[in-house]
C-alpha cells in the first residue's frame, strides 16, 4: 500500500481541527471535475468529524489535460501567501466551469487582493516551485491520478464519495 512520503508540516495548507486525530491529505487539481466533486464531500466530512479531522490540500496539476490547473494552483498559493488560501480554493471549486485567467483575477479582486500583483506573480511563476514541490512529493508517495487521498499517511484506494471516505476515516479513528 502506498504511503505518504512527505509529512504534513506547518508549510501545508490545513483546515479543520488544528491537531485532528485523523489527517486527510488530498492531492488535487483545480480543473479536475472529480476533484470538484471531492471538494463537496470533503466539506461535508469536515462538518461531520469536526476537530477530529485535519484536512490538508496539496497541488497535483495535470497540466497536459488541464491548461488552467497550474495557474489556478499558483493563484491559490498567491492568495495563501496573504492568508487567503482557502478563500481562493473554495472560489475556484465553486466556479470551476468558469476557470480562466480572467476568473482568477476576478477572484483575487473579490478577496481584496491585487489583481496586478497576481498577474505579475503568474507571469514570473513566483509560486511554481511550491506547486512543483507538492507534485514531486505526490509522485513519490504513489499519487495515481486526481484526486488521491491519504488517511493518516496511507493511500485510500477505494471510491472517494462521502460514505467511503467517512467509513475509512471512522475506521482509522476507531483504531486509534
Amino acid at each position: 500500500m502506498a504511503e505518504l512520503k512527505v509529512p504534513v508540516t506547518a508549510a501545508d495548507h490545513a483546515r479543520g481541527g488544528a491537531n485532528g486525530q485523523v489527517v486527510l491529505v488530498e492531492y488535487g487539481d483545480y480543473e479536475c471535475p472529480y476533484c470538484r466533486l471531492a471538494h463537496v464531500q470533503v466539506m461535508q466530512l469536515g462538518r461531520h468529524f469536526g476537530d477530529d479531522l485535519t484536512y490538508v490540500f496539496r497541488h497535483f496539476p495535470l497540466t497536459e489535460i488541464h491548461p488552467f490547473a497550474e495557474p489556478a494552483a499558483e493563484a491559490a498559493e498567491f492568495a495563501g501567501a496573504q492568508g487567503r488560501f482557502w478563500d481562493m480554493h473554495d472560489a475556484i471549486y465553486a466556479h470551476q466551469e468558469q476557470l480562466s485567467l480572467l476568473f482568477l483575477m476576478g477572484a483575487a479582486r473579490a478577496l481584496g487582493l491585487s489583481e496586478r500583483t497576481l498577474e505579475v506573480a503568474l507571469e514570473a511563476h513566483t509560486y511554481a516551485p511550491k506547486v512543483a514541490q507538492d507534485f514531486r512529493g505526490g509522485i513519490r508517495s504513489g499519487v495515481n491520478g486526481t484526486p488521491t487521498f491519504f488517511i493518516n499517511g496511507h493511500r485510500h484506494d477505494g471510491p472517494f464519495d462521502y460514505q467511503h471516505l467517512a467509513d475509512a476515516i471512522q475506521s482509522v479513528r476507531s483504531g486509534l
Binding site: 497536459e64 509522485i139 504513489g142 499519487v143 491520478g145 484506494d157
Partner: protein, 170 residues
C-alpha cells in the same frame, strides 16, 4: 493469475505497432533503461489517470535516461486517438494481433477478461528485467515504484562502474 516475469530474466523482445504505420521494438530501446507499463484499456477513467500521471512524470523518467512505453490490447488507431486526446508524449504499443501475445510472454495477460494486467517492468540498459510489479487490476499503481526502481538501478550502475559519464564509477 500467473506470475509476472521476475527480475534477472531477459525481457522478451517484441515488435509492436506504435502508430498504424510504424512499429517499435524493445531492442530499439537497448542502451537505455525502459519502463514497460501494461494496462487494461485506453479510455477507462482509471487507466487514463495512470497514463496521464506517467505523461506528467516524463521529465523525471528522462532524468534517469529512461523511456516509458504503455502497452495494451487496443489497436494502433485507438491508441492514436487516445494519445491525441490526452496529449500523451510517449508511445502506446498495440498488443493487438495476435491479441495479448506479448503480455502473455510477460505473464501480464488476464485470460478471462482478455486484457493486460496492470503490470510494470523496469528493464535495464542490457535488456534484463530489473524490477517488476503487478498491481491489483482496480488499483492504478502510480509512478513511485518505477522511480524507486530507477533510483536503485542508477545506484547499482554507478557502483558497477558502468555509468556512462566518466567519474561516476565507484
Amino acid at each position: 493469475m500467473g506470475q509476472v516475469l521476475a527480475p534477472g530474466v531477459t525481457a522478451p523482445d517484441f515488435t509492436l505497432h506504435v502508430t498504424p504505420d510504424q512499429t517499435l521494438s524493445l531492442s530499439d530501446l537497448r542502451g537505455r533503461p525502459a519502463i514497460l507499463a501494461f494496462y487494461p484499456a485506453d479510455w477507462s477513467p482509471v487507466c487514463g489517470d495512470q497514463m496521464a500521471v506517467y505523461n506528467q512524470v516524463l521529465p523525471e523518467f528522462r532524468e534517469h535516461d529512461a523511456e516509458v512505453v504503455g502497452i495494451s490490447v487496443d489497436s494502433a488507431w485507438c491508441h492514436q486517438a487516445f494519445a491525441e486526446t490526452r496529449h500523451l508524449h510517449f508511445p502506446l504499443l498495440a498488443d493487438f494481433e495476435p491479441k495479448g501475445a506479448i503480455a502473455r510472454q510477460y505473464g501480464a495477460y488476464r485470460d478471462g477478461e482478455g486484457v493486460c494486467e496492470r503490470a510494470l517492468f523496469v528493464v535495464d540498459r542490457d535488456g534484463i528485467i530489473f524490477w517488476s510489479y503487478r498491481s491489483p487490476i482496480a488499483v492504478n499503481p502510480g509512478a513511485d515504484g518505477i522511480l524507486d526502481a530507477l533510483d536503485r538501478l542508477e545506484k547499482q550502475e554507478n557502483s558497477d562502474g558502468r555509468a556512462q559519464s566518466a567519474g561516476n564509477g565507484g
